[in-house]
């Protein structure tokens, strides 16, 4: 399909094969040297600790873990055996590509020549799948960009694509510039994903470290900061709060189990508790997160609201627009976070429309709800294959999608309104829909303070959560947790949820309604702001992100390629 947005691209046409010391390149180098000194280096000890931990851990063959071993000289023989496996499996996709690229560049000095040759052969013979999502394309084109830089003068016959190094490099650069441009102006598509953020950060780390082109180097660093700042604003002691474009079943009750947490802990907390192997690439690189982003990730003294605009996944069918705006809102406190999008289907299968995260040492600390929508229309909207067949086969790929008890997924019949610590979800479900109920999931370790037909009041550590169902419900024990199932009344139901600190708790009015207006200052509209919060500000379409923390500011200006 065509990736629309005509006229927005403004692609940089920098030719990497021109002299590196062109006037423009010199400017970028100067900019790189002049980046404000706000860096909090991930300490040498931390980096060594990361590499040691990864080297000592038993992973199935993984490029980043092999890189750690080669870098530290740990189990080198075993690492090379694992590398043999990865280079001989005759199947590569974008996941294989970025790992291979990372290993090649990060161990270039340590890697035996025979393996470099083997890797070169792979990029001639393997025919990797490019994938179909934003993270897939970033992995694919960042890998091709770096490898075509490394083998810069090869003819078409030396590449699986049948294109020359120059052509591959130019195409990859065009994609990367377009993706950066669209993301910083109109929002990310696979936004706030506890799983897939990992697959955005790693390719950007590699690009920022190993590209020779000063412009791409600077833009990659800026994009890393952009995504990490976005993450930091919703980071709560390892939890990735709010709504998520994509979340897996394993992370449904607890995002501290997620891939993103590895980077969160590494960049924001100097911790390696939930370490995953790709952190090795970050530890080998020179990238350090600016202090202001670490401060954003930890400054939780005062509650604050975040308004953001993201984009829906490319709609292949049934939509007049390729990507629609997604209004993402979160309310953050040191004890809990409540976050949501406006509802509707913005991503297939794994969407999470709202969540309430309790900042607790207890496992399973998330309250969330959904209508278990199951439809070939949902699948056909986002995937090109035969619709009826997709529904038949989906369980093999995304286990649980067709279940009435599922934990993840969006619904076109859901409308969500939120103001600070209060959220209201309305459902209007046609009778022909397969599942005629709505579920709210409650961690089982809470203490029930009240439970009647109009109100459920539960205490989770320092927080009191109140759920006011507007139709009949049943409470179903489920493993260690509870499923609160609302039945429909004439096809409709709704619920109202609030969360407060126990010491700030007032009697709850079950007839209460949300604040009438969006939680925005007078005269401002959320539709105009890509980011609006005490920490992040960016006007929609501006390409400029301002990070703020008290008197400190850091501005990523993608229109002039500068950091101020």
């Amino acid at each position: 399909m065509a990736h629309g947005f005509h006229g927005l691209d403004g692609l940089s046409q920098i030719n990497p094969y021109k002299s590196v010391l062109s006037a423009k390149s010199v400017c970028y180098l100067l900019i790189l040297f002049c980046i404000p000194i706000q860096l909090t280096a991930q300490s040498k000890e931390l980096k060594q600790n990361v590499l040691r931990r990864i080297s000592d851990t038993e992973y199935r063959p993984t490029f980043s873990a092999i890189a750690a071993r080669l870098k530290t000289g740990t189990k080198k023989k075993f690492a090379l055996l694992q590398l043999d496996t990865l280079l001989s499996k005759e199947y590569g996709d974008m996941f294989w590509m970025y790992g291979c690229t990372g290993l090649y560049f990060s161990t270039k000095k340590n890697l035996p020549a025979a393996y470099k040759k083997k890797i070169r052969e792979c990029w001639k013979k393997f025919t990797p799948y490019r994938g179909d999502t934003e993270n897939h394309f970033l992995m694919y084109y960042s890998s091709l960009y770096l490898m075509s830089q490394e083998w810069s003068n090869l003819p078409a016959s030396e590449w699986f694509l049948g294109k020359s190094s120059q052509d591959i490099h130019k195409e990859s650069e065009a994609y990367l510039n377009t993706w950066i441009n669209r993301t910083v102006k109109f929002g990310q598509i696979e936004f706030d994903s506890p799983r897939y953020l990992y697959y955005f950060i790693t390719p950007l780390v590699l690009l920022s470290e190993y590209t020779k082109d000063p412009a791409i180097k600077l833009n990659s660093k800026m994009m890393l900061e952009f995504l990490l700042a976005d993450y930091a604003a919703k980071y709560l002691d390892g939890n990735f709060c709010g709504a998520h474009s994509r979340i897996s079943n394993e992370q449904a009750y607890d995002t501290r189990n997620s891939e993103a947490t590895s980077y969160g802990e590494y960049f924001f907390e100097d911790s390696v508790e939930h370490i995953l192997p790709d952190i090795a690439f970050a530890a080998i690189s020179s990238f350090n997160v600016p202090k202001i982003i670490r401060d954003i990730a930890s400054s939780r003294k005062e509650p604050y609201s975040i308004h953001e605009i993201k984009r829906s996944r490319d709609a292949l069918r049934y939509s007049a627009a390729l990507n629609s705006p997604v209004y993402d809102y979160a309310f953050m406190t040191k004890d809990f976070s409540l976050g949501s999008i406006q509802g509707g289907l913005v991503q297939p299968i794994q969407q999470r429309s709202w969540s309430l995260t309790i900042n607790s040492s207890q496992k399973d600390n998330i309250i969330f709800g959904l209508h278990p929508y199951v439809s070939e229309k949902e699948l056909a909207a986002f995937f090109p294959e035969e619709p009826s067949f997709m529904l038949e086969k989906i369980e093999g790929v995304k286990n649980g999608y067709t279940s009435e008890n599922k934990w993840v997924g969006g619904s076109p019949y859901e409308k969500i309104k939120q103001c600070k610590n209060e959220i209201e979800c309305d459902y209007d479900i046609p009778p022909e829909e397969k599942y005629q109920h709505v579920d709210i999931f409650l961690p089982g370790w809470g203490k029930f303070l009240q439970r009647d037909s109009a109100l459920i009041r539960i205490q989770y550590d320092s927080c009191i959560v109140e759920v006011a169902p507007r139709t009949k419900y049943i409470l179903i024990p489920e493993s260690k947790n509870f499923r609160l199932r609302l039945s429909l009344d004439s096809g409709k139901t709704s619920y109202f949820i609030t969360c407060n600190r126990a010491d700030e708790f007032n009697d709850f009015d079950t007839s209460s309604t949300l604040c009438a207006k969006d939680d925005m200052p007078e005269g401002l509209r959320k539709e105009d702001w890509l980011y609006y919060s005490k920490f992040l500000e960016s006007k929609l379409g501006s390409g400029i992100l301002k990070m703020k923390d008290g008197t400190h500011e850091r501005i990523l200006d993608f229109t002039t390629d500068t950091i101020r």
């Binding site: 065509a2 799948y129 009826s388 369980e395």
Partner: protein, 349 residues
């Protein structure tokens, strides 16, 4: 030469390979029985040599056959379905009516469709893939990716056989066209709503400027090679598939399963259901297949279907049902572990 012409004309009725072999045998008998070459032993010798050459299995002087291509999205492993996986996918080719198969080119790529430049005798092949459009100019030995990052999930491809450098592709967002054999591409759907899911694109064999596009908003027609498009009257909803023959558009099937077909000099419509919305052709009768049966191909008397549940199937009608076109049984004809999205036949000399 009459029989030689027959061999051509019977191609659509019988297996061309077997017809041509019969013809060779006929020729050999005729010339053996009526020795016009008299006593010239050298000529006799040369004649015998040429007959042996013609009859030898590897001979290609008169050998013509129908090549069958199968496009696979992936293996039938449940985890290889949709989204981020294409394990096992690719283009497959059979030169013996489905008995044996070999894969051409890229492995593990979603292959949605294929087209071949007829004049090239199977040498110039285009694959419509998840990654874009792949082209081979050496019968599949080497391939080049012809599109860039802007084009993905190419659902169908059609080569203008009169001007083979003109190529049209259907994608989930647009119709693209190349005028230079795939080197450059531009969107050729200015009159259509954007974005638009286009599942199939076909060129009228009798008028190469007449293009048909099956889209989610109905059936669109262009009479000027994609410069302008009009929605066909009577096609109000999403079109899944269509049949275009030398007589023009013959049938289309809609998302609802409704089948539109041209018969008795008029357009007819049979109501269907969502469970029978894949169009197949059986013994010159239109029929609808299940979602799993996703494509068909005919070689002489042999009728093949491609199944998303796995494999290419060959129709073996029982005697009593042979002419009814109603009930038949099928046997696997290979590729049984692959999800087959499309089949295509090409005449090879």
């Amino acid at each position: 030469m009459k029989k030689f012409k027959d061999c051509h004309s019977e191609r659509s009725e019988k297996s061309e390979l077997s017809s041509c072999l019969k013809f060779r045998f006929f020729v050999s008998l005729r010339y053996t029985q009526n020795d016009n070459f008299g006593h010239n032993s050298l000529l006799k010798f040369l004649f015998l040599i040429s007959i042996i050459f013609i009859l030898h299995p590897s001979s290609c002087i008169l050998a013509q056959h129908t090549r069958l291509y199968a496009c696979a999205l992936g293996s039938d492993d449940p985890s290889a379905f949709m989204g981020g996986s294409s394990i096992g996918g690719g283009l497959w080719q059979s030169d013996d009516t489905g008995k044996t198969w070999k894969q051409l080119g890229w492995e593990h790529v979603k292959c949605y469709s294929v087209d071949v430049v007829n004049k090239s005798n199977g040498k110039i092949i285009y694959q419509a893939c998840g990654n874009g459009v792949l082209k081979s100019t050496d019968a599949g030995a080497t391939w080049k990716m012809m599109t860039d990052w802007r084009v993905t999930e190419v659902m169908d491809i059609a080569v203008d056989q009169k001007k083979p450098n003109n190529i049209y592709i259907a994608t989930p967002g647009a119709i693209w066209k190349s005028d230079d054999g795939g080197d450059n591409w531009y969107e050729a759907d200015s009159d259509m709503p954007q974005p638009i899911f286009v599942s199939r694109i076909k060129i009228d064999p009798s008028d190469h400027l007449k293009i048909y596009a099956a889209t989610e908003l109905g059936l669109y027609e262009s009479k000027d090679g994609g410069l302008s498009w009009n929605k066909r009257s009577g096609s109000g909803e999403s079109v899944r598939d269509m049949i275009v023959t030398s007589h023009g558009l013959s049938a289309w099937i809609e998302e609802s399963g409704n089948l539109h077909y041209f018969e008795n000099k008029k357009w007819n419509m049979k109501a269907g259901s969502k469970n029978s919305r894949t169009l197949i052709w059986y013994k010159k009768n239109f029929a609808r297949g299940s979602g799993a049966i996703h494509s068909f191909a005919i070689i002489g008397d042999d009728f093949f279907t491609g199944s998303l549940n796995g494999g290419v199937w060959e129709d073996n009608p029982s005697e009593e049902n042979k002419n009814s076109g109603e009930e038949y049984t099928s046997e696997r004809s290979g590729l049984n572990k692959l999800q087959i999205w499309r089949l295509k036949t090409v005449e090879i000399k």
